[in-house]
Amino acid sequence: MKKKLVSLLLCGALVFSLTACSGGGDMSAAANAEPAAAAEEEAAPAAEEKEEAPAADESADAAADASADSSAAGTTITVMASQDWVEDAEQELGKKFEEETGIHVDYQIVPADQYQDLLLTRLNSGEGPDIWGAQSGFALKTTYNVEENAVDLSNESWADAYSVFSAEQTGVDGKNYGLTYYDTTTDYYMVYNKKLFEAAGASVPTTFAELKDTCDKLAASGVTPIYEPMADGWHLLMLWTENAQVHDKKNPGIIDKLNNNTATFADDADMKLAVDQLKELYDNGYFGDNALSDEFADAEGYLASGEFAMCMLKPGAIKTIVASEMNTEGYTEDDFGLFLLPLCDNQYLNIHPTGPSRFIYSGSPNIDAAKQYLAFLLEKDNVQYLIDEAADVENIPVEVGQTPEYSKTTLDFLSSYDDDHSGMVLQDVVLYYNEQWMDINADLAALFIGDMTSDEVLQNIDDRRAELAAAANDANWK
């Protein structure tokens, strides 16, 4: 008996020790944005202290909808999303929603490198979650078959408050199927540490040659130039696509040609140059020694520590960097700035109105409860709560009377680019591209480790586009 007890305890201890040291994954999704030109001047300073989710009486107007239908009380709705798509503040709002309606919200958050495969497997097998998250844009129709897998939300109570730009990206053929619940009013830009740049004698680059010079100076000063979290499998490609506006500016009409199947990625010298330059950055060691295993969740911490000088992040991340416990140098928000990564010498601002959005699964038995949840999130107090509490959210693409929190850095940066110096990101304008986001990231990693050439990476993009187009019966690929 004693022996058995000891064995049992040892087994328990081992299982516990194994599970206890499991780390968190992470990631979020790709970019987003909408011209933040509309950035309200009255941007309020970020809330410093954690507030509680708005009390029931504060959100009475919103609760009206939510509590109207008490028949859903006691049910549980599932929200499935990639990591970083669900803010802690939203989960707090979820608790508040449960208090008001009796509907429990179960957040199923999946590591980003596994999310899309898992979601599509569930949707394609008819086992979708009540609310599923996906990047808005072209891929909704082809990859997610949104017309079959999502409920039409065109006539929801919040439809008029929802950004027209975002509605176009979550809609198909005039119907809106989703809600972009993410800060798409800005995109990802290079967030850099001014003090480290200054100490290294480096300046903000505007050409690729200058970028290399800047990175060399930073490296010489003992700082790793760029934090590039490749482990998550989604971030790397942004270095190119969020700075690919230059392709269309240099070669007008290339986007249409790609979509008409009269041009290919593999035949475009500029595309090849961009991919080659990415590899050059990696080969020169500008991403550090561990880029392949670095995770997005650690980006803000590493920038706060001063170990890395820059990373492609949303501007709202600056608040998180400053607030990080790894900020032992006492950096302030003024110590960080923004610039465009000059791949192919790009100096055109990236506009990206698509982003992680929510869709209600058409096969869900809890459609009404799911609709209630989305309506609840868009109540004025709840939108404001998200903006105040989620440090990296400066605004979301709805207008319900909330006060955005754009920083002066963000406003100054965005206002320095006019319409002639901005353009939509590649994944928002090129067909059958966003669908292969994770594949291209894997190919780029293969390029870095020497398993592929840049020509093969681009050829693979073309091949997958052709495959997707053929499956979608696209006349231009016949």
Binding site: C21, S22, Q114, D117, T142, N290, I449, D451, E467
Partner: protein, 291 residues
């Protein structure tokens, strides 16, 4: 003479029906679909002959590398799991102190869910913050600290090592059962004839274990060819595509809605497994002693 009892044929109807509906029919349908263009993007399905098979074997989409990786994984893990499993089984079937404790410890990884094991090891093997590298650095063996799951030269080896660690206890358990079933009289007779420990192992244990070994090897070969969750959890096929195996590719194809291509690879694997399984059982049970 006692007449051998034969149960009526209709006793098997239930199990045959369940097997047919849940296994045989979907399997045959899967093979059928691999000759079509079935996908999530179109409601129509057209017969396209061997096009999907041509795609797989043309080398255009890296499937040949995935096939090679899968076979390498199977070969290496089967050898190590069986070899180490046999070693532990022989050692722990003797009267040594705390043998049940050791058996329990070795068997424990096998009962952990593979995904959990994979996720735990992604943390342990993290080059910067992982337990293994930190431990090596602490004891002054910095040069042994590696980028276990992202260095293209060793990533696949790391995946296989974790899988061997997880599976060796299971093999050991099966082999211990096999060894304990061998009558002591064989060993006693061999000892009387002057056989040493190695000779008893070589000429008594191994031949008497042949059937158990055949079962364990076949099971492991099938497991190796179907490996998915360990690779998925540890590297998801990366870095790049360096550790991609066939079933991670199938999963990615299916989740993209390219069903026909996914079923094609599954069909190929199914045929592989049937052929390999058949020949392995045939070879490993050849000259079997019939009592």
């Amino acid at each position: 003479m006692k007449k051998e009892k034969v149960y009526p044929w209709y006793f098997v109807i239930g199990s045959v029906l369940i097997y047919t509906i849940l296994s045989l029919v979907p399997g045959i349908m899967g093979i059928g679909y691999s000759f079509t263009d079935w996908s999530a993007y179109s409601k129509e399905i057209h017969f396209i002959g061997f096009d999907n098979f041509v795609t797989v074997f043309s080398g255009k989409k890296d499937y040949l590398r995935y096939i090679s990786n899968t076979i390498t994984f199977t070969f290496v893990t089967v050898i190590f799991k069986t070899g180490l499993g046999l070693l532990f089984a022989v050692a722990l079937s003797r009267n040594i102190k705390m043998k049940n404790f050791h058996r329990g410890i070795l068997y424990l990884p096998s009962v952990l869910p593979i995904l959990v094991t994979g996720l735990v090891f992604t943390s342990i093997l993290n080059p910067k913050t992982g337990f293994l590298n930190n431990f090596l650095r602490t004891i002054g063996l910095d040069f042994l600290a590696k980028k276990w799951l992202v260095d293209p030269k060793i990533a696949f080896g790391s995946v296989m090592a974790v899988d061997i660690w997880r599976g060796v206890g299971y093999i050991m358990t099966l082999l211990i059962a096999g060894i304990l079933a061998i009558p002591d009289t064989y060993f006693e007779a061999a000892a009387i004839d002057g056989a040493n420990a190695w000779q008893r192992f070589r000429f008594v244990t191994i031949p008497m274990l042949r059937q158990t070994l055949a079962v364990t090897i076949v099971l492991n070969v099938i497991y190796g060819l179907k490996v998915f969750d360990m690779v998925y959890a540890l590297t998801n096929g990366g870095p790049g595509h360096r550790t991609e195996v066939l079933y991670t590719a199938v999963y990615k194809m299916m989740s993209k809605g390219l069903y026909a291509e996914g079923t094609t690879i599954s069909s190929i694997l199914f045929i592989f497994m049937v052929i390999i399984g058949y020949f392995m059982v045939k070879i490993l049970t050849k000259d079997e002693v019939v009592e």
